[in-house]
Symmetry: C2
Subunit: 363 residues, 2 copies
């Protein structure tokens, strides 16, 4: 079992990472949250069907009231209606300021449950129990949010969890598509902060179908380490935390334009990273073998081209709407070197010149 | 012009209090918020009709985009629908993370606008421009919220304003009913913290129809001082901040049972304070001449009895539902002495014994 520590200006909390990490949860709650009389588990339909009973079993002797809200799977969990209905249920269940919320699921459930916790009675404690690799990123750092029709994650808060219980048993049965989605963020974390970890990844991971649990645990641990180090410096995303958006400017635009769910987050981010690497080579002097990178991630099963049914103008408009952008030009996270990110603002021409050759050939 | 300072663990901000305090706003925004390109003013129909043009005139040369959202007056501003529509407008107006929100109005507008600011893109800066005496309390300290059908202020956050501009010119034309509502909170602040200020109030304020501006400015300044001192010790209401709920347990229950708007907040709180003083004499050893107090506030135009159309069981149920209550008994803020509050939990019998004689005679 690994115990990582996340430090922010107001709060320090542990991440328990390992097989059967969940077994530590009841003792932790009993010891540190004695005055909590009730717990609300928020999970989604898919994860609930697989793992809710296991979590209930683990908490069988906790001697607190256990309530459950089951929300739709994926981004459908992050609507205003679902948010409101979770709040209504929390009130009906009689949760008070000392009650606890447990987020059991992937990033969407964690984002929703965290925002419910952030705003219920002006904020109550919550715990992240991620069930995907992708959620190693979102479960740490306290960014919680729901979506607005006009854009993803537009309504949210910074609300740190009390602790993260990352049980690798959940990961063992993850579909390949989800492994791939989560692994893209790990590659991102290596690229923006840690050349050595990046070398380890490229040398050691040649297929996502055959990652052994030890390698995976190490990769997730390193990813969380990168995330934690950045959050420690800049909890509220006024500076370096923006580096975590490497690959996300185009990635979000692709997800958004295809409709959320048509492509996984990590798959979108991978295309965005290829683009950001191209921009970095062109406008930021990055010395990097892009062909080697593309061959590597291609072997891992990622797409690296923009789907042909999208068009450049729409993507440009979507990138400008993205909240990370404050002016008319588009702000990108680029790399001066692997491990040395930098914020650069590019105009439409500069963006289009590099983007147009990235489209898949139309068939 | 008085400049008061509010200190919290993460933020220190000024309260400008005085006639024409608003004149300081454009310079303040220009100097400290250069990168803000747009401003959203949130006000309500009544306040907007009276003062929006004045605020726009003050900001005429600010060189930032000015947008306005006008919301319904009173508690109707604090619904989920209004909250959502403010967020939608903010997105349509193109507000980004550097944009500013100005809350122009009473407590309800401040609570709503503050919660919009707290959650728009995970939090943007906002300013309180209170237009009532009552809002001297809510504009300071960062508690922002909206209502849920199941209860007032159930959904919210702690989000401190960047600054408060409390322009006494707004107060000069306030209807007597609103003066009375706001003054109840000032009396509360004196009772829980400052015997000397309490003596000043009882000696100097014999009518709310003839308070002169200098007296009023002093009373508001002292009230904000009490509020600021408590917020400094306990921003997140884990301890002493709860003392500010003196009079509010029964006060909220009365407001809630009558329907919000039938009685002003301060009028409800005054009845709640009379009750809390009775409980304090009985259960907390408070040495206090309640008859003198009742005569004084009666002369100021307050009711001190529970309206006869309410009934004790409903009020008891409403108090238990109030979020300040965590168990089956009811938690009250009582006074050991004037200036020495204490938290006491009382059972139904103890509460009813003192409450029943407080009802108005049925006619």
């Amino acid at each position: 079992m690994e115990i990582l520590t996340i430090e922010t200006s107001n709060k320090t909390y542990p991440v328990y990472l390992g097989q059967d990490a969940l077994a530590l949860l009841p003792g932790y709650l009993k010891e540190k949250y004695r005055s909590a009389r009730s717990i609300l588990i928020i999970t989604d339909e898919s994860v609930g069907a697989l793992y809710l009973q296991r979590l209930k079993n683990v908490l069988a002797d906790i001697e607190k009231e256990l309530h459950v809200s089951v929300v739709p799977s994926g981004e459908k969990a992050k609507t205003f209606d679902v948010y409101y209905s979770c709040l209504t249920q929390a009130l009906e269940f009689g949760l008070n300021r000392k009650s606890l919320i447990l987020a059991l699921g992937g990033g969407a459930v964690g984002d929703l449950a965290g925002f419910v916790a952030a705003t219920y009675m002006r904020g109550i404690p919550f715990f992240q129990i991620p069930t995907t690799i992708l959620a190693h990123d979102s479960a740490v750092g306290g960014k919680v949010a729901i979506n607005h029709e006009a854009g993803k994650n537009m309504i949210g808060a910074f609300h740190q969890p009390e602790a993260v219980f990352f049980d690798l048993d959940f990961i063992a049965s993850l579909p390949l598509k989800e492994v791939r989605s989560g692994f893209a963020e790990i590659i991102k974390e290596a690229l923006i902060v840690d050349p050595e970890f990046y070398s380890w990844l490229t040398a050691g991971i040649q297929s996502l179908e055959h990652v052994d649990m030890q390698q995976l645990a190490y990769a997730i641990k390193m990813g969380i380490g990168v995330k934690g180090a950045i959050v420690k410096q800049d909890e509220m995303e006024n500076g370096v935390r923006a580096y975590l958006n490497f690959g996300h400017t185009l990635g979000h635009a692709i997800e958004n334009s295809l409709g959320y769910g048509s492509i996984t987050h990590g798959e979108g981010v991978m295309i965005g990273m290829v683009f950001a690497l191209k921009l970095s080579i062109r406008y930021s002097g990055l010395n990097f073998n892009l062909t080697t990178f593309i061959n590597w991630v291609d072997a891992l099963g990622y797409k690296t081209k923009i789907p042909s049914k999208l068009n450049a103008d729409d993507l440009l408009a979507a990138m400008k709407k993205d909240k990370k952008t404050t002016g008319r030009d588009i702000t990108f996270v680029l790399l001066d070197q692997v491990g040395k990110p930098v914020i650069k603002t590019l105009n439409d021409d500069e963006v289009l010149t590099e983007m147009l050759p990235m489209f898949e050939n139309k068939r």
